[in-house]
Amino acid sequence: MLIPHPLLGLRDSSEFTYLGDAALLDRPDGMAPDAATRFHDYVHLRDNPAGIHRELWFHEQGDRSWLIVTRNTITHEVLSAELSRDAMKGGAA
């Protein structure tokens, strides 16, 4: 599986470590009245879709940037990759 790193071009997926669903970028508000429930869901529950999945990959053996990779979990086809800091800046994470 090759990941099209926005700065470094195509890199082998084995250079990265994987964290999971990019929804993890949306941390719940720890001060909300229902924070305990929200954090349970945030930490433990996953959509786990068969098909398109936005997910976090860390280029550990490269430039150590976090990427948001959009990938098909049925075919392993990688559709796109962007720097998560760009996505966060745009508020679109």
């Binding site: 529950l45 996953r46 786990n48 879709p49 979990t73």
Partner: protein, 472 residues
């Protein structure tokens, strides 16, 4: 004259075969060896005792010999292939090991009826037919170990119980130790196993050398210092287990319905009424879902999100070789484990690939990693040629431990989160799930495997990794 010779050697074999031996069918089978020489009325005796509704009812060593001598023409399909009924008391979704075992124990042990297993493909097409067949009860935590030991005890009686050769072989599993810290951890684990009634032995380097002199003891990074041995652990024939449970369930009246994919749940007032399938709607009193790697996908149809991610695990088999490894060896530090199948192939594997996947194949990175682990442990493996590599989809839970529990939807039950270790659990999982489905209460050994354990702060995390499914 020729008949006499055959008869004599067969009688010797009867005396030798203590296993699964049924005297009556044996006598009749002796006669039926000579079917072709005997009048019809004697040969037909076999049909009365050995076969019912066109299905083989009992196997015996003799039956095998008889078939060998008569060109294997007498074997019958071992389960029916029924169309679905409009309604059942119990619908089990998923015809893998756990679904089939659940149906078997529901019917045989808990004496329930009107049971169906719905399988989207053919029986045993999922992980039960793809796993590296290790059975063991060498867990640490009280939420796990009694359950796996219960499973081990069921394995020990399984073939007699369902009269099918599942090739259960208690050839022992050896977990290698490379450091003092690891020895302490394994000593603790071994003690936990003993406390739960399992067997465990701590070996020093000399003991391991005596067992496997050809291991690479002096690897610079991971020198072998000893091992934790569970002698009662071992292997079983992966799909034989599925077939044994399927046959037993079918004989007990369970409808095994293949090519029947569940595509939705009918839920009214918080209660499940039945399932939509590719073969029409089927009403159900209770629905038990046991779809392993597809758990997230299937439970999403009931509107539920699970503490589970689906990941791919690969396995490998070499060409058949002379016997070299008579047990199972795990090299956890090097992400590699290996055993040898009865056919002679080295069956081995390593870590999961580590990213969400529903593709039944993995990537080259892990293939290299596993090959390197193998070379580090037993350099001679480099001379073996690989026959095949394949993958299966694992239901990786947030703490590495399964869930056998009711769900917030009344009548809907879930059996999931088996990670890469659900084969060994097959008997206990089926038993405990059937117990839950009939009595509404968890089986004693599965009572910690609850859905809400994360919310309540009671995860069962053997490795202390936290909510990172790809590290369990």
């Amino acid at each position: 004259m020729r008949n006499g010779v055959e008869g004599e050697s067969i009688l010797q074999l009867i005396l030798l075969s203590g296993n699964n031996f049924d005297e009556l069918s044996a006598t009749v089978n002796i006669l039926s060896v000579f079917d072709k020489y005997l009048p019809k009325h004697i040969a037909s005796l076999t049909i009365r005792t050995g076969i019912r509704d066109g299905r083989s009812v009992r196997y015996s060593g003799l039956r095998v010999i008889k078939e060998a001598l008569t060109g294997h023409k007498g074997w019958q399909p071992i389960w029916r292939n029924p169309d679905p009924q409009p309604a059942y008391d119990y619908v089990i979704v998923g015809g893998g090991g756990h679904g089939l075992a659940t149906a078997y124990y529901l019917a045989k042990t808990f004496k329930q009826s009107r049971i169906a297993v719905l399988e989207k493909s053919w029986l045993g097409s999922g992980n039960i037919g793809r796993n590296t067949t290790i059975i063991r009860s060498n867990y640490l935590l009280p939420g796990n170990e009694p359950f796996y030991e219960f499973s081990m005890k069921l394995w020990e009686g399984l073939e007699q119980e369902f009269n099918f050769n599942a090739m259960v072989s208690q050839r022992g599993i050896l977990n290698l130790i490379h450091s003092d810290g690891q020895r302490d951890a394994y000593r603790r684990r071994g003690n936990a196993m003993l406390l739960a009634g399992a067997d465990a032995e701590l070996l020093d380097q000399g003991d391991v050398r005596a067992m496997y002199p050809w291991l690479n003891f002096d690897n610079a990074r991971f020198p072998i210092k000893g091992g934790l041995l569970q002698r009662r652990a071992g292997t079983a024939r992966h799909d034989g287990v599925a077939w044994g449970y399927a046959r037993g369930a079918d004989l007990a009246g369970v409808d095994l319905i293949q090519n029947c994919e569940v595509t939705g749940f009918r839920i009214e007032d918080g209660r499940v009424r039945g399932v939509e399938t590719s073969r029409g709607y089927i009403a159900a009193g209770k629905v038990g879902v046991a779809v392993a790697g597809s758990s997230g996908r299937v439970m999403a149809m009931a509107g539920m999100r699970l503490p589970i991610e689906s990941h791919v695990l690969q396995a490998f088999v070499t060409e058949g070789l002379k016997p070299v490894i008579d047990g199972v060896i795990t090299f956890g530090a090097g992400h590699f484990y290996v055993s040898q199948s009865d056919k002679g192939g080295l069956v081995f594997g390593g870590d999961i690939d580590g990213y969400n996947s529903y593709a039944q194949r993995g990537n080259l990175g892990v293939i290299e990693d596993v090959a390197q682990g193998g070379m580090a442990l037993m350099p001679m493996i480099g001379r073996a040629r690989l026959l095949r590599i394949w993958g299966g989809i694992m239901d990786m839970s947030m703490d590495g431990t399964p869930i056998i529990d009711r769900t917030p939807i009344e009548g809907l039950y879930l059996n999931a989160g088996w990670c890469y270790g659900g084969f060994k659990a097959t008997p206990a999982s089926g038993y405990a799930f059937a117990h839950l489905l009939t009595t509404g209460t968890p089986h004693e050994t599965a009572r910690f495997m609850r859905f809400d354990r994360f919310e309540r702060g009671y995860p069962i995390d053997e490795k202390g990794m936290g909510a990172t499914p790809n590290l369990h």
